[in-house]
Symmetry: C2
Subunit: 157 residues, 2 copies
DNA sequence: TCTATTATCTCGCTCAGCAAGATACTTGTT
DNA sequence: AACAAGTATCTTGCTGAGCGAGATAATAGA
């Protein structure tokens, strides 16, 4: 073990108070991922299935229909993987396949109400806690949080 | 609001300014995940391999040796999966297996310098951008960001 | 020493996801 | 109308990450 000041090779950027927050953000991302994974395993699902349900519910919230193809693209799956994914979700009763009336090649995916309720039961408390936390900050502090997160999104693309 | 239940329903049905930040945080977590995945695919690795390298480098930064068992536990793999993971990483030249001299049952995993450099070349710019962003905030704003992220970590466990 | 415990590895298997191609429907052209 | 080209999904066959069970090797305790 090195008896010197420790962080010469790993910590290229000067480790100021900023680096602590950078690591914190990464840790949060990992922890949120684990939280999803736990939800998946408890309900006999795979991480991809959860990602799919979230993508479907996001689209529904934005008022958009999601076709099988759309879903696969959003998750980075090819058509075969997408079919298998929707098969799994449908078999578990979380979604329904509905043939589009206008273009009968398309299959739109609808999320079952019970899957939505299941999701809320797991993610609801976490969201409530987040809202609670955020209510403790004033407008300038909220703007800082919003600005940092928005900036990181842009940087991560 | 006079009615507690009513307030919660409104909170869920009608997202306030807080919900925007909640969704933003989730989006950041997803985007950071995608950023990792891209790094993995560009270098012929799987998401788990990247998670492993990050875990190994985190431990190294904290001055801890990581054994195969430790690594598997950290990633939620069983022993067979861990062996396969280390095999992959070693085959790619990213890590070395080193038998512990004191307890010869143990195998400590050392990350190759070139893997560290590779990681920096991909994650460095993102980290630099984060540090840049954070330098634009004063102490109270930084405390808000730190507090929110710390609170979310605790909530996600 | 002999036994129990711990750490890693081996073997056989399951299943998510890929590549290629089949099938079904729509649209454009003649 | 009929036919070709394009688009959306599904089928088939395969690869490989990760699991369960158990083997192997080293240490610790009596």
């Amino acid at each position: 073990m090195p008896d010197q000041e420790g962080e010469e090779l790993v910590e290229r950027a000067e480790p100021g108070p900023e680096m602590e927050i950078v690591h914190l953000l990464r840790a949060v991302a990992v922890d949120l991922g684990r939280h999803s994974t736990r939800f998946a395993q408890r309900n006999g699902m795979h991480p991809t299935d959860v990602r799919a349900l979230i993508a479907l519910m996001d689209a529904a919230r934005a008022g958009e229909e999601t076709t099988a193809g759309h879903l696969g693209t959003a998750l980075g799956l090819n058509s075969a993987g997408t079919t298998a994914l929707v098969d799994r979700l449908e078999r578990a009763g979380h979604v329904r396949r509905v043939r589009d009336a206008r273009d009968r090649r398309k299959v739109t995916i609808e999320v079952d109400e019970r899957a939505i309720a299941l999701g809320w039961s797991h993610f609801g408390p976490l969201i409530d806690r987040a809202v609670d936390l955020l209510r403790g900050y004033d407008e300038r502090e909220l703007a800082a949080i919003r600005g940092f997160l928005t900036g990181m999104r842009k940087a991560a693309v």
